[in-house]
Symmetry: C3
Subunit: 345 residues, 3 copies
């Protein structure tokens, strides 16, 4: 526990395990609110009937909802004093989360490196989401730049974990979904695994304008306490002048927008990496495009697509705004996410 003021860089110890507070029983209401706040239409998460046809007892909850709730629990201990959320790696969704499950979270400090300026440092944690039976439903690494309480405090010797660029296809968790009876028409698209060669780019056509009430409601639903999302009085004197939209809400919006073009990417399997490239504010309209980076067959009826989804703001995505030859991001880009998704074959 970090207390109400949160931890600073010098409060973290390598190898330390942190048990996060605020267990949360998730319910059908989290499903409905996810739909109401993002417009998601993925049928596996929308209809019990669709889930049953794939061998589940009922519709599981949205994968990014699980991520956002688990992430939210880590905030008071890990990132209340974070300057920036720098990256993600080695994320794995395992098993499904159902209404009635209770999620809790814990993190292990796997790396620490003081920043050269000496006023902050990078904290690497592996965070896990657990259900009420103690089963891990999500595990991921993230690293954040955290302020020091005292710039003069001694820093530990740098320890940076080795992190893979992507979760190997062979290491993807089995999903236990029987996709042989997948109803493409009911899902809304006939496109299947074979229709997505490596290199294919998809411009998702719709856009979603973000309102203060919407991103705050989503972020509170996740019990995420980072003040930058909620407190206009304080943010008015920040360099942004405004509240920041929680990056996980941008991920959820990009996922919902990606339905048009990736309707049958029915489950997130793994997070390879991700970067919140630029801030998103209320009033911004979010668009997205995706690219197939890799593919892996998963039995007769399924395949995994390694996808890169790029979210942009205030310009449409039809021409695929991207990094330039110098590696610099187009100024419209707010999110660059690399993940594996399941697709019926």
């Amino acid at each position: 526990m970090a207390g109400a003021q949160g931890r600073f860089f010098e409060d973290f110890r390598l190898g330390e395990e942190i048990r996060h507070a605020t267990p949360r029983t998730v319910t059908e209401a989290d499903r409905a609110l996810t739909i109401a706040l993002t417009g998601s239409r993925f049928p596996l998460h929308s209809a019990d009937t669709f889930a049953r046809a794939l061998g589940l007892e009922r519709a599981p909850l949205d994968d990014w909802l699980t991520f956002n709730i688990v992430f939210g629990k880590t905030v008071p201990d890990i990132s209340l004093n974070a300057v920036a959320n720098l990256g993600y790696a080695e994320g794995r969704f395992s098993g499904f989360v159902y209404p009635g499950d209770t999620l809790s979270a814990r993190s292990t400090v796997i790396g620490l490196r003081e920043a050269s300026a000496g006023d902050s440092g990078i904290v690497y944690v592996r965070s896990e989401g657990l259900n009420q039976r103690g089963e891990t439903v999500l595990s991921y690494v993230r690293w954040v730049l955290v302020q020091k309480r005292d710039a003069g405090a001694a820093a530990p010797s740098p320890q940076v974990p080795e992190l893979p660029k992507a979760v190997p296809a062979g290491a993807l968790e089995p999903t236990h979904l029987d996709l042989s009876g997948y109803d493409f028409e009911l899902a809304g698209s006939v496109e299947r695994f074979g229709d997505y060669p490596v290199g294919r780019r998809i411009a998702h056509p719709s856009g979603m304008t973000v309102e203060e009430a919407c991103h705050m409601t989503a972020t509170r639903l996740y019990q995420n306490t980072a003040r930058v999302h909620f407190d206009q009085h304080r943010m008015a004197t920040s360099r942004f002048k405004r509240r920041l939209v929680y990056g996980g809400h941008v991920i959820s919006l990009a996922r919902a927008l990606s339905f048009d073009g990736l309707a049958n990417a029915c489950r997130i399997l793994a997070i390879n990496g991700g970067r919140h490239v630029a801030p998103c504010f209320a009033g911004d309209t979010v668009y997205a495009w995706s690219e197939v980076l890799d593919r892996a067959e998963l039995g007769a009826h399924a395949g995994a697509l390694r996808l890169r989804t790029v979210a942009v703001k205030n310009r449409e995505s039809a021409d695929f705004p991207d990094r330039g030859p110098d590696g610099a991001y187009d100024p419209s880009i707010i999110l660059d996410l690399d993940y594996w998704a399941l697709m019926p074959a």
Copy 2:
């Protein structure tokens, strides 16, 4: 399935049956969100105890919620490229929708007529909402003006369905509600069927200001994908400059406002017709008034009222703004809805 860009006028074939995507399991959360987004107080939809006293197992979901969810499913196939939603007819609610039911939708093309300008055409569809047992819970006709992809494309010979001005009273579905034990005090009004002669007008006293976050949240809850409701970046260059509030949300608001004056109009039985007369935008305050158009006894304890509910914006409804002698609508009017509602006698 229409693909992410939707169908154009020349993509529709007379008699064609379209099975819509995105089945949706509705739950208690849809009830709570309906209340939270509209302020509805009709007790049949608010309390299990009230519903049980009328012979149901529990409280069914709001009728217009069913309508809006079914309507939402039809949008990607029918009206993504619609210029205008022109009208409704022959709507019938049959049976109740309960938490746990899964709704899906299908439509049949029952009429096609190219517009005289040649760049668009009117598509008439009968849409049905089905539960997980394949039972029809709602059926209605609507017609929309849809753009042509290619103005030069050949049009089919005009086929316009015959549609009744109203569902005949004798054709109303039985509701299987036992209204003999209806608790008027608990419902909030002593007014019953006998208190509503034909011609009675009711000015509903309250108003509701619409916020962007509220109408977008409602419309996403219905998984309605029409971009005009969500994308300020694109709408900024439209003739409206702003996002449009989904007409079904206006219907839901008018229904909630109508509680004060029609508290015991406990169930929508049929939709005779409806017109979204003018757009509604965030910042507008919606008021409503109603008029009794017709009445029909339904056994000893119940009657059906044919009601016209008119929603206006940014002016109160006490003086019943209406069409003028020339048939032109008062500029404050945004909705003109004609329906049958059940009322205890």
Copy 3:
């Protein structure tokens, strides 16, 4: 029943019992919406597992949610024509409210006093919230200044009830919670009953900016019909020019903010008094601080803290803005609430 225009001062009779309309079945969705609209993190209301460890079958609903729903039911009969909500006293929460329970409400008029100006009067009511078994889950007194319909109407002889300054510690309801196994780490704070001496002040560090969509959604969820919260068209010509945030939403926000500093104040036991000192509007950022006024042991593992929580707007609470020596409130203060809360020992 009061009709759509509400009751005026001369419509109330001493001793009269009013049965309020709109029973409401509360569900998991009310829990999720409470979290989404306030950011509450109290674990007893967040996780079934946490509640079971304290001997309950599942997580009960938030106490102020119960208060706000019960309060909402009283509005059409008591305060639709209220000029001001003046105070609360003798509030007691008894038993827990669980998802699936149906709440209804009734009030008894216990005092009436015409105001000296003769155009309004103070109505004192004891309101009770009942579950579907007729058990009282909440009882409280409030008094409101209500307009007269006719300033010349005769007023009853003044009857002002005797009200205690606080609920005596000995009169607090047993909570039937077994706090011996309370998990402080999972709750998020090690601070327990012994850490809160009388006089301790806690500045809750976070702030929450209120949006129109958020306070309206919360207030509609409670089916509170007071027009000042919803109708910008009418409010534009009021002295406030804007919609007023419902005071009960401010209480809920202050409670959620108080988590940082009072994380283990796990249950509201009683309401001693409360005053909505100044209005809150959309755009305001709410902060809060609390003070321990009194303490009472409740067996070996629990204690009751009498707390004063003060909510302020648009300034942080670190320096405890308060009443001045002349008794006048600091202009930032919007709420001054006095209540008993349960705390593990």
